[in-house]
C-alpha cells in the first residue's frame, strides 16, 4: 500500500531477478489480481505486491522490522542498519553467509531490508539470532553519543529510538567514555536542532531534497563528529519544513511552536481535515483533553499530517500546521452582539431571524445571503434553507480567501485556493457559489433593493475589499456569523459567534472531489456555538415570525428542522418533494417532545437542533453526488463524490 505513492523507483533492477523462484509458469498474482511476487518469510510463504524493496513487502504482510532511516515516502538510504534481515539462496535454501572479520567465522550475512530489491522466491528471516544480535549492536552504537535526555526531550513518548531501545537494545550501556557533545542550533524560523540527539538517519536531508525540492540541509564532518547543518546564512525556511520534525525518528529536529508545549502522552488525537487550502490534507489535531484544559493557552497543541495516499501522502505544509492559530488569538468572538450590546446567542439568533424575516416580508427580495467557502457542506445546506426558504431572501454568492499562486514542489503541491470547501459550495449552493464582490451585491441591491444581508465568514484574516465592505455596511441590517472579530463583524448590527474547524463536525469537499470529514476536537469557547446550531436557531426564529412571507411556502425540510417541534405535526402536512426529509425532522421533534424534560434537557436546550451528522444524512439523501454517503462511510480517509453528472474540478 505504501509503495504505490513512490513514483520514482518503480521497476528498475527488479525484473531481472524475478525468475529464479523455482516453478515459474505464468505470472504470480496477488489476492487483488495485481501482479505479485512470492517470498518466504520466517518459513511461511506469501505473495506480495511488487514493492520497490523488501521492507515495504514485509510491512504489507505485517512483519514489522525496526527502521530509523527508511521512510516509505522517501528514497531508501540504508544508513541506519536497523532493518537487518538474513536471506537464503532461493535455489538451495541455505542462508547466505559472510565472514565475521572479528571472529573469522562464517555467519549469516545481514542485509538491510530497505535496500534489498524484491525478487521472486526470496527467502527471508527477520527474527533469528544473527538478526537480533545485529540490531542490538546497532542500538548500542546509536546510543553511544545519544545524550539520553528523554526527560527534557519533546519526542519522548513517540520517539523511535526510545521504543527500539526497549525492544531491541541492551538494558544498560557499556560505554564509559565521554560522549561527544555538540551545540544545539536554530536551523530556521520553524526548525530547531538538538545536534547531539541526532542519529544521522538523513531523513530530513532526503525529505528536503526529494519532496520539498530545497536541499537546505546537509551532513557535515565525519564519524562521531558528523552533524546536520544548514549552509551559513541560509536558514531552512520552506513551507514544508515542519515535516522533517515529524519524520525525525528522535528529538533532534523540533518545531519551536510545539517546544515544551506538552508531553505527547497527554495529547488526544482527533482525525480531521486541514482547512488551509482546497487540497484538504488529512490531519490529526493533537490537543489536551478536557481535564488539562487551561484557560488562556490554546487547547490545540499541534497539527500533524495523517497519511492518505489519495490526498496528501504523508505530508502537509507549515501553513496548515498553523491554521488554528487565528482562532486561538485574542479577538475571538465569545458572545453575540446585537446593535452594539452583548446578548446571548439565543437572543441574537432570535433577533436576527425575526428582523431578517420582517425585512423580507416588508420588501420582498431585499434580503441577501452571502455564504463562505470555509463553511462545511452542512452549514451551506442550512444556509440555503435559511435564506431562500425560511427568510425568503436570495443567496447571492460566497466569500472566499483570495487566490494566491500554487506552490509546486517535486513531491507536494500546495493549492493556491486557500479555501477548504469551494467544491462543496459548488455542489450545495450551485449558482450561488460564485465569489461575491461589491458589484454582485450592488446588482442584487438594484434589482431587489437589498437592504439586509446575512453573511457567514469564518475565513482567517479575511478583510473584504473596501467597496464590498462599504456596500455591506450601508445595509439597513447586516448579520454576520464569524469566529473572530473582523472588518465585517465590526460593521455588523448583529454578530453571531460561530466555531472554528476544530470545534465542529462537518464535511469538506476538496478540489478533487473527495468528500472528507472534519471533527470536533475541542468544544467552542463559552459563548460561541457550532455554526449549524446558530443557523438552525435563526431559522427557527424566522419561521416563528409567522408573518413571514415565506412561512406558508416553507420547504418541507426547512420546516422539519426549524418548526417541527414547536408547531407539532401539522407543519409537514403539505410536503412538497422531500417528504422523507421533513418526516425525519418531525420524528426527531416528536421524539424530543416525548423525552421532554428528563433526558433531552442537555446543552442543546429545546432539542430541535439537528447535529451536523443528521444534516448530512438529509443532504446526502438529496444530492446524487453524495448518494449513499454517511459520516461512517466517509470515515477517516474520505470518499470521492459519486460521478453522475459533471465532474466539477
Amino acid at each position: 500500500m505504501s509503495g504505490q505513492a513512490a513514483e520514482s523507483k518503480g521497476s528498475d533492477g527488479q525484473e531481472g531477478s524475478a525468475r529464479h523462484g523455482g516453478a515459474g509458469q505464468g505470472p504470480v498474482l496477488c489476492a487483488d489480481g495485481r501482479p505479485g511476487v512470492r517470498i518466504r518469510v520466517n518459513g511461511k510463504d506469501y505473495v506480495v505486491h511488487k514493492h520497490r524493496n523488501l521492507l515495504d513487502a514485509l510491512d504489507e504482510i505485517g512483519v514489522t522490522i525496526p527502521r530509523f532511516c527508511y521512510h516509505p515516502g522517501l528514497s531508501p538510504a540504508g544508513n541506519c542498519r536497523m532493518c537487518y534481515v538474513t536471506l537464503a539462496d532461493p535455489k538451495t535454501g541455505r542462508p547466505i553467509m559472510a565472514q565475521n572479520l572479528a571472529t573469522m567465522r562464517e555467519e549469516p550475512k545481514l542485509f538491510t531490508a530497505c535496500t534489498t530489491p524484491l525478487s521472486d522466491g526470496l527467502i527471508v528471516e527477520t527474527d533469528n539470532e544473527a538478526v537480533r544480535r545485529g540490531r542490538e549492536l546497532v542500538m548500542e552504537f546509536l546510543l553511544i553519543n545519544h545524550p539520553l535526555d528523554c526527560p527534557v526531550c519533546d519526542k519522548a513518548g513517540e520517539c523511535v529510538l526510545q521504543n527500539y531501545a526497549f525492544q531491541h537494545g541492551r538494558d544498560r550501556s557499556r560505554f564509559v567514555e565521554k560522549k561527544v557533545e555538540k551545540p544545539s542550533k536554530v536551523l530556521g524560523p520553524n526548525l530547531l536542532l538538538w545536534t547531539d540527539r541526532c542519529i544521522k538517519c538523513t531523513r530530513c536531508i532526503r525529505f528536503l531534497e526529494e519532496i520539498a525540492g530545497t536541499p537546505e540541509l546537509a551532513m557535515i564532518n565525519r564519524g562521531d563528529h558528523s552533524e546536520i547543518d544548514a549552509a551559513p546564512g541560509h536558514p531552512v525556511s520552506g513551507p514544508m519544513t515542519c515535516n522533517v520534525v515529524d519524520i525525525c525518528p528522535v528529538g533532534a529536529l523540533l518545531d519551536p511552536d510545539f517546544l515544551y508545549a506538552a508531553r505527547v502522552w497527554m495529547l488526544q488525537r482527533t482525525s480531521s481535515v486541514c482547512p488551509g487550502c482546497s487540497k484538504g490534507c488529512n490531519i490529526g489535531i493533537h490537543h489536551l483533553p478536557q481535564q488539562f484544559l487551561d484557560s488562556g493557552k490554546g487547547a490545540i497543541k499541534r497539527i500533524v499530517p495523517r497519511t492518505n495516499q489519495r490526498v496528501n501522502g504523508y505530508w502537509m505544509c507549515d501553513i496548515g500546521r498553523r491554521v488554528h492559530k487565528h482562532v486561538s488569538d485574542e479577538g475571538r468572538l465569545k458572545g453575540a452582539i446585537v446593535d452594539g450590546k452583548p446578548a446571548s446567542v439565543e437572543e441574537a439568533c432570535e433577533a436576527a431571524g425575526r428582523r431578517l424575516a420582517e425585512a423580507a416580508r416588508d420588501r420582498p427580495g431585499s434580503v441577501v445571503g452571502i455564504a463562505s467557502a470555509w463553511m462545511t457542506v452542512e452549514e451551506m445546506w442550512l444556509f440555503e434553507r435559511l435564506i431562500c426558504e425560511a427568510i425568503g431572501g436570495k443567496a447571492i454568492g460566497i466569500l472566499a480567501a483570495p487566490k494566491v499562486p500554487d506552490i509546486d514542489m517535486p513531491g507536494f503541491r500546495i493549492s493556491g485556493d486557500r479555501n477548504p470547501n469551494r467544491a462543496g459550495a459548488r455542489l450545495v449552493l450551485g449558482d450561488a457559489a460564485a465569489e461575491v464582490d461589491s458589484d454582485v451585491v450592488i446588482a442584487a441591491a438594484r434589482d431587489g433593493a437589498a437592504v439586509s444581508a446575512f453573511v457567514s465568514c469564518g475565513i482567517p484574516g479575511f478583510a473584504p475589499p473596501a467597496d464590498l465592505a462599504k456596500t455591506l455596511s450601508n445595509m439597513g441590517l447586516l448579520v454576520v456569523l464569524d469566529t473572530v472579530e473582523s472588518e465585517l463583524s465590526r460593521r455588523a448590527h448583529i454578530v453571531l459567534p460561530g466555531s472554528a474547524f476544530f470545534e465542529k463536525d462537518g464535511v469538506y469537499i476538496n478540489e478533487r472531489g473527495i468528500v472528507q470529514r472534519i471533527a470536533r476536537a475541542v468544544p467552542p469557547p463559552a459563548g460561541a456555538r457550532e455554526d449549524v446550531e446558530i443557523l438552525q436557531l435563526i431559522m427557527k426564529a424566522a419561521v416563528g415570525a409567522e408573518s413571514s412571507a415565506a412561512a406558508g411556502d416553507l420547504g418541507a425540510s426547512g420546516a422539519g428542522i426549524a418548526g417541527g417541534g414547536r408547531r407539532g405535526v401539522g407543519c409537514h402536512e403539505g410536503d412538497k418533494q422531500g417528504g422523507a426529509v421533513g418526516g425525519g425532522g418531525g420524528a426527531e421533534g416528536g421524539d424530543a417532545n416525548a423525552h421532554g424534560a428528563e433526558a433531552q434537557k442537555d446543552s442543546r436546550g429545546e432539542k430541535m437542533i439537528l447535529s451536523a451528522r443528521e444534516i448530512f444524512a438529509r443532504l446526502a439523501a438529496e444530492r446524487a453526488e453524495l448518494a449513499g454517503m454517511t459520516y461512517d462511510s466517509i470515515g477517516e480517509s474520505g470518499s470521492p463524490i459519486v460521478q453522475s453528472s459533471k465532474g466539477g474540478a
Binding site: C150, P151, V152, Q167, Y260, R263, W265
Partner: protein, 175 residues
C-alpha cells in the same frame, strides 16, 4: 531481549510462607505472644490516647506528608519539567507548565514555569517521588497538614520550594 535481566530479588513473601510451612508451631508461638500482649495492656493502667493537639504527634518512619521541591547546586529549581510525576500520579493532582529555561542557565533547557500540587486531591502515595528522574520532588514528614481554605491546599512552585528550603534536607523522607 527477555533474557531475565530484570528478575526481581525473591525475598519477603516467599521466605515467610516457607518458614510457616516448615514449622507450624511458630503460629502457636506467635499467637501466644499476641495474647500476652493483649492481656498486658488489659491490666496496665493509664490511657494511650494522645492529647492532640496539645500533645504533638510524631509520625513514624515512612510517613508521607506534604510535598516539597528541591533546588540544584546553584539554587535553581531542580525540576526539569519532564512531567513524569504528573504521568505517574494516580490522583492527577500535579499540574505542570514547562518553559524554556532562562538564557543564563547555560546547562539547563527546560524548567517548570508553573508547578502546582492539589494536596486535597493528592493521595500521598509517593509515586511522584519514585518517578522523578532528577530527584527534585519528595514528600516530607510534616504533620499535621492543615489549611483554612481549599485554595491554600493548592501548593504552587514557589511554596513547594520554600518548603524544601525549610526542611528539605533535615526531613527523613520515605526510606
Amino acid at each position: 531481549m527477555g533474557s531475565g535481566k530484570y528478575s526481581m530479588p525473591s525475598d519477603g513473601e516467599t521466605r515467610d510462607s516457607r518458614w510457616i510451612a516448615v514449622s507450624p508451631v511458630a503460629l502457636l508461638v506467635e499467637s501466644a505472644k499476641a495474647l500476652a500482649h493483649t492481656f498486658r495492656r488489659l491490666v496496665r493502667r493509664g490511657s494511650f490516647t494522645v492529647q492532640y493537639p496539645e500533645e504533638s504527634l510524631s509520625p513514624k518512619k515512612g510517613y508521607r506528608g506534604e510535598h516539597f521541591l528541591k533546588r540544584d547546586s546553584k539554587g535553581r529549581v531542580k525540576c526539569v519539567a519532564c512531567f513524569m510525576c504528573a504521568a505517574a500520579c494516580p490522583a492527577k493532582c500535579i499540574t505542570i507548565e514547562a518553559g524554556k529555561a532562562p538564557p543564563e542557565w547555560t546547562d539547563r533547557e527546560k524548567y517548570p514555569v508553573r508547578f502546582e500540587i492539589d494536596l486535597l486531591r493528592c493521595i500521598y502515595c509517593g509515586m511522584c517521588e519514585e518517578a522523578c528522574p532528577v530527584d527534585a520532588i519528595a514528600l516530607s514528614g510534616t504533620f499535621p497538614i492543615v489549611a483554612e481554605s481549599r485554595k491554600e491546599k493548592v501548593y504552587d512552585r514557589d511554596k513547594l520550594l520554600v518548603l524544601g528550603d525549610n526542611f528539605g534536607d533535615k526531613i527523613s523522607v520515605v526510606p
